[in-house]
């Protein structure tokens, strides 16, 4: 069995989550009586989709009603998140709110933010990475940053849409190292897979998707991982150094996937889902699933997730302002 290897903040909050979760377990025995709609703001085949479908199938077993996963894509996440937030808070619509719920209001895409949903539990922490092609001249993050500093605007990077979370990862890292956030110019793409294709094809020089998204290509030797934007190394790829070790600023950036309900979801319903989700995270099936994706099991309940979302919104908001992505 893979051990929970995350340290620091996550470990502490996870432990706290367990405590607070068990404290609230008392009356949490609401059960859905008919099919539940599980909204995923991103496309089928992505990490959010995979995690959510897995969790949905486990909730389905737990509650013994169908959990219908619906992919509501579009508008860089706005469409799906607003579908979750504005649904009837009766427990029959829940969804996978992701890190974008804390950033898109800063970007001026929408008014919608993390206070418009009811966070239930944390499903996954998805730290970013710095990837280059196998034949790239750069062999370390230091090489890359030194070159970018000396030749601003010469290199290009990709990973997601303009202003998306992986754009934030790259520009935020450059900014925190005292460089121009545009020293590596951002080339928008439709998601991480398209960006890594560009990287292999030589269309861009760097990509900063989640390390878990690049895992297969790193293991097959097509891509080199220069850094993992997290405070501890990934269990599945222990040779990739973290930005915390490499950078003076100790910059890290992780996206997250949650299970959340609409605003005003009654406490009884929310804690029933929280209980069911945390139970699911304890199973061997879930551990195996996580291991297959190179990710680690995280456990965080509603209370701490709410705090974390607020903190993330403030932190990323400040970063977005510093790199000129706010409106």
């Amino acid at each position: 069995m893979r051990m929970l290897r995350t340290t620091g903040v996550i470990m502490a909050t996870a432990a706290a989550a367990l405590l607070s979760a068990s404290a609230a377990l008392a009356a949490c025995d609401w059960k859905p009586e008919r099919p539940v709609t599980y909204v995923v703001p991103w496309g089928a085949g992505g990490g959010t989709d995979a995690n959510s479908r897995m969790l949905a199938s486990m909730l389905e077993k737990h509650f013994d009603v169908p959990f219908n996963v619906v992919n509501r894509t579009g508008g860089n996440g706005v469409v799906g998140h607003s579908a979750i937030a504005t649904a009837e808070p009766d427990g029959y619509t829940i969804g996978a709110a992701t890190v974008e719920i804390t950033t898109m209001h800063h970007a001026g895409l929408t008014e919608l933010n993390h206070t418009d949903i009811t966070p239930i539990a944390l499903v996954d922490i998805v730290p970013s990475s710095v990837l280059v092609a196998k034949d790239s001249e750069f062999n370390s993050l230091n090489d890359l940053l030194t070159y970018a500093k000396a030749n601003p605007g010469k290199l290009t990077g990709s990973g997601t849409a303009q202003g998306g979370i992986w754009h934030l990862a790259l520009a935020g890292m450059l900014n925190s190292e005292g460089m121009d956030p545009a020293a590596i110019r951002w080339v928008p793409s439709n998601g991480a897979a398209a960006a890594m294709q560009e990287l292999i094809a030589g269309g861009v020089d760097v990509a900063t998707p989640a390390l878990s998204e690049g895992k297969a290509l790193i293991e097959s030797g097509e891509l080199k991982a220069l850094a993992y934007m997290h405070d501890s190394r990934m269990g599945a790829l222990p040779e990739v150094p973290t930005t915390k070790e490499l950078l003076k600023s100790g910059w890290t950036l992780a996206a997250f996937i949650s299970i959340s309900g609409p605003k005003g979801l009654p406490e009884e319903i929310a804690c029933s889902y929280e209980k069911a989700a945390l139970e699911a995270f304890d199973t061997q099936d879930w551990a195996d699933f996580k291991a297959s994706r190179g990710a680690e099991v995280v456990k965080m309940g509603s209370a701490d997730l709410t705090t974390m979302m607020a903190a993330t919104s403030d932190n990323l908001g400040a970063t977005m302002k510093a790199i000129g992505l706010t409106q």
Binding site: R34, P35, T37, P66, N68, V69, V70
Partner: protein, 160 residues
Amino acid sequence: MKLGDLPLGLLAGLVGLAIILEAVSFPVMAGMAYGPEFFPIIIGIGFCLCGLVLIAADLRARLAGTAAPVLTIEPALRRRKALLRAGAVVIGTVAFIALVKPLGFLLALALLLVFLLRVLAAGWTITLALALGLPFALHFGFTWLLRVPLPRGLIETLLF
């Protein structure tokens, strides 16, 4: 409804102009010659060009005395019954969109089926059979087998 080349050309030109007008209001990217407005403007120009070609063809035909009429209504659409049926398809769909949330899928679909089948003069037996049977069959298939959630209403709440 068939337009002659002249009005069709004018319509295409107007659409083209509208697209271009909207497109020039898009924000430009700093230091970029091509931004979000670039393709819409090309498409708008394309519409205008097509419009001009159509107008020119119409004028040439007019000079030769062979121009098509400005507007022809196909014989099918001149019959009141046909118009009514086409209207029923459109109105039925619009009504379904408006009613499916408040009434729920089962009732809205049953009403739509009764309305359309009666307008198209299908027999009462088949109408009632379909209106009573099909919504349930589809509801079962979509929500339970295919996992597509459908809007719920009174009947769904009473039954499931």
